[in-house]
């Protein structure tokens, strides 16, 4: 940022940190509705329809096609899926991700598993998990696996079972929470607990990496964006792998932040915002950010130049999420009212993880509530 400001006399960028993606979206929406938007914001791809609905953002096709444009085909397809609506591009991928499986190689070796072979299927996950559980009397000292009770993680299991809970195309009114595949996926998450591989109760997003580092959990599902933190803080060798496949094989939904340019800020500021974005997504720049964070640099060119090229050779874990991309689809929930549907879905997962409801009951309620949100936003279901 300082470097950009130093090299651009006519543009000064002032960053504002607001917290996680949800807080940032709340802040951006408040700013849009009060008529005082920022110029650029890094927001989730799934927020696209909410942002279009509040007329808060502008399409970027003219900028992309302009002389000072961008080779948009260089960005990975899976990372563009959430950025297109009405056949227009509304945001440029920045720090993108998929969830991956992290595993403790030392723990694998300790129980006689091959440290270079993570589980490839749900059944292997159960089998390996059982072997990895360690206990001291009745008290479990190491769990086999922890899967955060999160809409974004659950979506992958549904894809692996054969049906995404969100849409694959440009359908802001589609949510598929009560399908047999989604029920199968949630039942599998519950099974991990019933088999004693995963702790009972809801698993918080931030708990899983903390437990993993502390050795209290041998495998976790988490964003590839956590890679740097886990590599730097784990006192053992960290392995990474694709999320194990279900009856429909491997599957993932993408995630992470994108650059949006706001409406209502005037042509001059929008031009400056575009110049800033172009500078930020230069292959060297975006590659360096991938190294610093663990996020997947979203464009092919970044992987062909240093610093990312030589880093990927040194740290093979950094490539796992990119290699998983052929199995990756659009992020859930790319709909109107997506922020609320996220919480509705997570609540259903929590209800099942705590044994309050069965997967069928919880997902039926979630589907009904999601439909209500969509209807309230003008969807005809």
């Amino acid at each position: 940022m300082a470097e950009f400001n130093a090299t651009h006399d006519h543009i000064q960028v002032e960053p504002i940190f607001t917290g996680g993606y949800a807080e940032n979206m709340a802040r951006a929406t408040a700013a849009i509705l009060s008529g005082q938007p920022p110029d650029v914001a890094i927001l989730l791809g799934i927020d696209i329809y909410t942002l279009i609905q509040t007329e808060g953002i502008i399409p970027l096709d003219d900028y992309i096609a302009s002389e000072e444009g961008l080779d948009i085909d260089d960005f990975f397809d899976a990372f563009m899926a959430n950025n297109i609506a009405d056949e227009q591009v509304w945001s440029i991928p920045w720090q993108r991700s998929t969830p991956i499986l992290y595993y403790n190689k030392d723990a694998f070796a300790e129980v006689g598993l091959d440290p270079d072979t993570p589980p490839a299927t749900w059944e292997e996950l159960v089998e390996f998990g059982k072997q990895l559980v360690a206990s001291d009397g009745d008290n479990v000292t190491r769990w086999g696996v922890e899967v955060p009770s999160s809409f974004w993680i659950f979506a992958n299991f549904a894809i692996q079972a054969g049906q995404h809970i969100g849409s694959l195309g440009d359908e802001p009114c589609a949510v598929y929470l009560d399908t047999p595949e989604a029920i199968e996926a949630l039942a599998f998450l519950r099974r991990l607990q019933e088999e004693g591989i995963m702790p009972d109760g809801a698993v918080a997003w931030g708990t899983a990496p903390a437990d993993f580092i502390a050795g209290a959990s041998a495998m976790i599902y988490h964003s590839t964006g956590s890679l740097s933190t886990l590599l730097a803080n784990s006192p053992f060798e960290v392995g990474t792998g694709f999320m194990p496949g279900g009856s429909a094989g491997y599957g993932a939904n993408v995630g992470g932040g994108n650059f949006y340019i706001m409406a209502d800020i005037g042509q001059e500021r929008q031009d400056a915002a575009w110049e800033f974005i172009r500078w930020m997504v230069r292959p060297e720049q975006i590659g360096q950010w991938g190294i610093d964070s663990g996020y997947v640099a979203p464009r092919a060119a970044a992987w062909e130049v240093d610093p990312l090229k030589s880093y990927a050779e040194e740290v093979p874990q950094a490539s796992t999420a990119r290699e998983q991309l052929p199995y990756a689809v659009k992020e859930f929930p790319a709909t109107f009212g997506g922020q609320e549907i996220q919480v509705i879905t997570t609540q259903a997962i929590e209800a099942v993880n705590t044994g309050e409801l069965t997967p069928e009951e919880a997902l039926a309620i979630a589907q009904e509530r999601a439909n209500d949100v969509l209807t309230q936003n003008g969807c005809e279901l």
Binding site: A30, Q53, G201, A204, V343, Q347, T354, N377
Partner: protein, 314 residues
């Protein structure tokens, strides 16, 4: 409410004082004009920061946001709150929390104060930990308790595990989450209520209690028949503040559970935040605020009418 009452009191006193004063011979009218002049700064603040927000939140509660526009929906927001099991749960959680908070802050606070008021040596040593919690901001308190409650490395589970007792998932067990939040609230606020009672107790004349002791009155009888009636102004104050305090709880909900798991520990103010500032359903958030406001006003009236009569201020 409290500030409005105060404003009226001041106004009444002001008028009397000015009416009697010699340098304003033209009588009541100009006297009240002067009074209003002095009150003007407060009235402006009251209008801008209290009355106008109330009016606008009532207006907003009859509307729903569509994109950038607000459309009129009548009572729809209230009907949605009444019929949605999740908001019903929020209301139930809040009512339970406030009711329990009221009982515990009054009786617990008094009991703690009575204990702190015993003429023990080094009593300061015992008073300190209870009073120190008042000074801490709730967000920091909640962050500390987050570690205490942590399922695998937290203090509580370590202690329970050490004693061979089963461990609990304090914050992510739907049966425990709200109680765990309440425990944090209690830990932090009980000393606050005790402080008022302690002040009241120390203001009590010693001779009454001494006479009672000489007459052979037991500790509980003293508490019930002498102390309790004599500290009634404090009870009135503590119960009012206690209700307001517990209704306004959001910091620890935010830090510890985010209302989860599955809405089990959500409360009114967190609900308003979530609806209004996360999802920008300003209509629903306003409707819940109006409900809160109506409940508070009703309770303030009831307390004013019934409790105030039974309070001794001598």
């Amino acid at each position: 409410m409290q500030s409005q009452l105060n404003a009226q009191h001041t106004q009444g006193e002001g008028r009397g004082r000015f009416a009697r004063s010699l340098w304003l011979p033209s009588g009541l009218n100009s006297a009240s004009a002067v009074a209003y002049l002095f009150l003007a700064p407060s009235l402006v603040f009251l209008a801008v920061f209290t009355i106008w927000p109330i009016i606008s939140v009532v207006i907003s509660s009859f509307h729903a946001r569509r994109g950038r526009n607000q459309i009129f929906v009548g009572l729809d927001n209230f009907e949605r709150i009444a019929s949605d099991p999740f908001s019903q749960q929020v209301i139930l959680n809040t009512v339970g929390y406030v009711a329990l908070g009221l009982v515990v802050s009054v009786f617990g606070g008094l009991l703690l104060a009575v204990l702190m008021n015993q003429g023990l040596r080094n009593i300061g040593f015992f008073r300190f930990p209870f009073l120190a919690t008042i000074a801490l901001p709730m967000v920091s308190v909640a962050s500390i308790w987050l570690f205490l409650y942590s399922p695998r490395v937290g203090l509580f589970n370590e202690l329970l595990g050490g004693l061979g007792l089963p461990r609990s998932n304090w914050l992510s067990d739907p049966d425990l989450a709200l109680a765990s939040l309440f425990a944090v609230y209690l830990w932090k606020q009980l000393g606050y209520f005790a402080l008022f009672y302690l002040a009241a107790l120390q203001a009590l004349a010693d001779d009454v209690l001494e006479a009672a002791t000489l007459d052979g009155v037991t500790f509980w009888q003293k508490l019930r028949h002498i102390i309790w009636p004599l500290v009634s102004p404090t009870t009135y104050f503590v119960s009012t503040i206690g209700v307001l305090n517990s209704l306004q709880q959001i910091d620890h909900v935010f830090v510890l559970t985010q209302g989860g798991p599955n809405n089990a520990s959500s409360m009114a103010l967190f609900y308003v935040y979530e609806q209004g500032f996360k999802w920008f359903k300003t209509g629903i958030a306003s409707a819940m605020t109006v409900i809160l406001l109506a409940v508070l006003l009703t309770m303030a009236m009831l307390q004013f009418v019934y409790l105030e009569r039974r309070v001794h201020y001598d």
